[in-house]
């Protein structure tokens, strides 16, 4: 077997074990939270009779282990079940919401990744001079703003001062692609502001690191322009750490943007998860938790593989 295929298979097998471990941790975590689903659903209006009826109906009187294994076996057969709180099919709800999550993350990623790498290259090219300082200053300022502050800021500027966009960005079936793009404009701007600095700084640092090497000096002496040196010689050797950071940021765009979702009422997976955690709706929390974990693990495997494939020394270990 080709060593890379072998590595991928190994990583995926490890990932599956990790996912199972994640499901156990999530289950224990939800069990440890005070109160149960019935209490969380009924809230202030809980009467003892209604509580007992609801517990019975939701099957909460079963022992914890039984409930876990019931869930596990069903999930292994591809049946995620229905939400305890409102009886909706989990796979179906997650399907559309995960689509929205990927749409938002995709839009933000398509803008943020090339922009960050481009800015990183420019910053490295003009290391220590004003373009470098300007780029670093601006991106570090935007990453330092908490997301909700950045969100309120863009709402204020782009819906009140210059009424260009809409503050509420929920998307729904029947909207055209263009309408959807317009709807998510504000959250995309906020997310780009948030993830830009990390990737830009890493690109800059990785390039500058390589720039110390002897072969770069050769390239310069050969008469290449600074940008050609960076593009043709420095970047390919700096790609592995950059990819790692890009992937971490992409994973963050998928799993970590619940604050932005809430502020803009964007109907994606993060808000869905938080609502159900508040209601102790275990099947949903499990399903979403597993999806998020899978995204993280999958993207990390991808980063490793790209890092190896782009590096001949790792590609042909001797």
């Amino acid at each position: 077997m080709h060593p890379i295929v072998k590595l991928v298979v190994q990583r995926i097998a490890l990932g599956l074990i990790l996912l199972w471990a994640v499901s156990v941790v999530i289950f224990l975590g939800v069990e440890m939270l005070p109160g149960d689903t019935a209490q969380a659903i009924l809230g202030q209006s809980a009467t003892p009779v209604a509580l007992a009826n609801l517990r019975e109906a939701l099957g909460l009187n079963e022992p914890a282990l039984t409930r876990y294994f019931n869930w596990l076996f069903a999930a292994l057969q591809g049946d995620l079940g229905v939400a305890l709180t409102n009886g909706q099919d989990i796979a179906k709800s997650i399907g559309s919401r995960f689509g929205n999550t990927l749409f938002l993350a995709g839009c933000a990623g398509v803008i943020a990744v090339p922009l960050a790498i481009g800015l990183g290259l420019i910053a490295a090219r003009y290391n220590g001079r004003w373009p470098d300082k300007l780029i670093s200053g601006v991106t570090l300022a935007t990453i330092s703003l908490p997301e909700f502050v950045a969100a309120y800021f863009v709402i204020f500027v782009l819906t009140q001062v210059f009424p260009i966009f809409q503050p509420v960005s929920m998307v729904f079936p029947g909207m055209s692609f263009w309408d959807k793009l317009q709807a998510v404009a504000l959250p995309v701007i906020v997310l780009v502001m948030v993830v830009l600095a990390h990737m830009m700084r890493m690109t800059r640092a990785a390039i500058l690191n390589v720039m110390q090497s002897a072969y770069i000096e050769t390239a310069v002496l050969k008469g290449l322009t600074p940008m050609q040196v960076i593009w043709r010689h420095a970047l390919p050797n700096a790609i592995a750490p950059i990819i790692t950071v890009v992937v971490i940021n992409l994973a963050y765009l998928v799993v970590g943007v619940v604050v932005v979702e809430v502020v803009f009422s964007y109907n994606a997976l993060g808000q869905y998860l938080v609502d159900h955690v508040a209601k102790r709706d275990l099947p949903v929390v499990q399903a979403v938790g597993i999806i998020f974990a899978a995204v993280y693990i999958g993207l990390n495997i991808l980063a490793d593989v790209i890092g190896i494939v782009t590096n001949p020394r790792l590609r042909n270990p001797k």
């Binding site: 939270l33 005070p34 109160g35 209490q39 969380a40 659903i41 009924l42 809230g43 202030q44 209006s45 809980a46 009467t47 003892p48 009779v49 209604a50 009826n53 609801l54 109906a57 939400a83 709180t85 409102n86 009886g87 909706q88 709800s93 559309s96 309120y152 709402i155 204020f156 819906t159 009140q160 009424p163 809409q166 503050p167 509420v168 929920m170 729904f172 079936p173 029947g174 809430v262 502020v263 803009f264 009422s265 109907n267 808000q271 869905y272 609502d275 159900h276 508040a278 209601k279 709706d281």
Partner: protein
């Protein structure tokens, strides 16, 4: 109609004076209560409705866990959705008057133990068929069922027998209840086909709009139901309920015109919106109130002198000013205000009195250890700040009140109705009996103050069956005084509904019975071009 009356009606529709006040002042000008109520409605409907368009409401309190089952509705978003696709037997209209909806006539026997509802003929469901008396009985049965999780279970459990005959529904009660028709206006009791037993979450009813798209906690789109029976309502072609939980986003959305009406305008920003001619702030003085509750069976709150000391040491005026931004009125330690029929407004308003509080505290013989008030931000908006103001005014009177901050998560199961002293809120009920029987009757499930008083219970049952309104008012007054002077409830303030609408929305009539015109804003308003 005199100018004075017109002026009063205009004030009332703008929420500057309460409906009760309006009816009272109109009465002084020689007008009957019923006439005053209809005058008020006319004033608000003076303009002709405009047909067409899409009307959108931005509502706080939606979650992706929400259900369409009316029995489980517990927050504003499902409430607003349900009230738009479904209808109850009756509504609570302006001035607390009963308004006929699915029922077209209500009557009772002489001692109010049996109530007859005549069902309007030919009301169609969205998916075909018409409402029958059997459907009504099946609906009520679903909510009374012992296995029910309905929020209305307590309301309907006093019904001993339900019968459908032709177009008549006859309800026989365990004991007399002169307020029964008002209970049928409860928002859980939407009439569903065959009671909704088979499929409670179908979202299909007889309301003026039918659901086209529904994503829980996000957006519900509805279209006008062509065969709706009431031609005076439902002017927009379609309506949408958007769940926008973030205050800033909701406010920005109404300013930008993305929504036409919104719930819960933060009192702090009302002034900022005053300069905006596109957005109109609507206020309605309702029965909702914020409370601090002491359990009368737990030390040290089992001592009435200590309870009185704490009641005396709340600075109500300050709380109304700082917590509600003036959008409310001070409470009087019983859960009733002018929004209720038969309210006795001659009961003196309790004021902050540090000297008296200190005296009561001394009399109680309390050992001086800290008295802990447990509070979480979600107890009510501004709860933590309110508790701190309470602490300051109590400490000034020499009472060692301390505030303990609790997490929002699990507050309603671990603290409320468990801890001896905590913060909470009530949304109010259409009639006094229902409020008292929900939370102050000795045996009530939600008796969160553990208040037990035989005389109070007796009066309540007697008032329920009393058809002489003057006598009834006297009984309620006596109950209010008992609760005010011996109960475990500290009710510092009643909160107004503070809502926003775009200037182009016509037909808005503030209704204190519930948020967004008692849930009917989408069905009764229209968009002026």
């Amino acid at each position: 109609m005199s100018n004075e009356l017109n002026h009063l009606a205009a004030l009332a529709t703008k929420g500057r004076i309460s409906r009760r006040e309006f009816v009272g002042r109109a009465g002084a000008l020689g007008m009957s209560t019923a006439m005053a109520g209809s005058l008020l409605a006319t004033a608000a409907r003076a303009a002709d409705p405009v047909k067409g368009g899409v009307l959108r409401a931005g509502v706080q309190g939606g979650q992706s866990t929400d259900s369409l089952d009316p029995a489980l509705a517990a927050s504003d978003v499902p409430y607003m959705i349900n009230m738009t696709w479904g209808e109850t037997l009756v509504d609570v209209g302006l001035g607390g008057a009963l308004e006929m909806r699915v029922a077209e006539e209500v009557s009772s026997n002489a001692d109010a133990t049996q109530w007859m509802f005549k069902i309007r003929k030919g009301i169609e469901y969205h998916d075909g068929g018409t409402i029958s008396a059997e459907d009504v009985v099946a609906t009520l049965k679903r909510h009374t069922d012992d296995a029910s999780q309905s929020g209305a279970q307590g309301i309907v459990k006093g019904i001993a027998d339900m019968k459908a005959e032709g177009d008549m529904v006859t309800l026989t009660l365990n004991a007399a209840n002169a307020d029964l028709p008002f209970l049928m206006a409860d928002y859980h009791l939407l009439i569903q086909k065959a009671g909704g037993v088979a499929n409670p979450t179908s979202g299909i009813g007889s309301g003026g709009y039918m659901i086209v798209e529904h994503e829980a906690g996000v957006r519900t789109a509805m279209e006008r139901f062509a065969n709706y029976w009431d031609s005076s309502r439902c002017h927009a072609d379609s309506v949408e309920v958007l769940s926008i939980n973030d205050n800033t986003a909701r406010t920005a959305a109404i300013q930008a015109g993305q929504i036409h009406m919104m719930t819960r305008v933060d009192p702090k920003i009302v002034e900022l919106l005053a300069g905006n001619t596109d957005v109109v702030i609507e206020r309605a003085a309702g029965p909702g109130h914020y409370v601090f509750i002491m359990r009368c069976d737990a030390a040290p709150f089992d001592n009435n002198d200590l309870r009185m000391a704490l009641k005396m040491s709340v600075n109500r005026a300050e709380l109304v000013e700082k917590i509600l931004g003036g959008m409310g009125s001070p409470g009087n330690d019983f859960p009733i205000n002018g929004a209720y029929p038969l309210f006795d407004d001659s009961i003196p308003q309790r004021e902050y009195d540090a000297a008296m509080a200190a005296e009561f505290y001394k009399k109680s013989g309390h050992d001086g250890s800290p008295i802990v008030l447990q509070v979480a931000p979600s107890a009510f908006p501004g709860a933590v700040e309110a508790a701190q103001l309470f602490q300051a005014s109590a400490n000034a009177a020499g009472i060692p009140l301390a505030v303990k901050l609790e997490p929002d998560d699990g507050y309603w199961s671990n603290v409320w109705n468990v801890a001896p002293f905590c913060a909470s809120y009530w949304g109010g009920r259409p009639v006094q009996d229902q409020m008292y029987s929900t939370a102050y009757l000795s045996t009530a499930d939600w008796n969160d103050t553990a208040f037990k008083d035989a005389k109070f219970d007796e009066l309540m049952v007697a008032a329920r069956g009393e058809l002489d309104q003057a006598k009834r008012k006297g009984m309620y007054s006596e109950m209010a005084n008992i609760l005010r002077d011996t109960g475990g409830l500290i009710c510092p303030m009643f909160n107004d509904w503070v809502e926003g609408r775009r200037a182009e929305v016509g037909g808005w009539i503030p209704n204190p019975a519930g948020t967004l015109m008692n849930g009917r804003a989408l069905s009764m308003c229209w968009l002026n071009a």
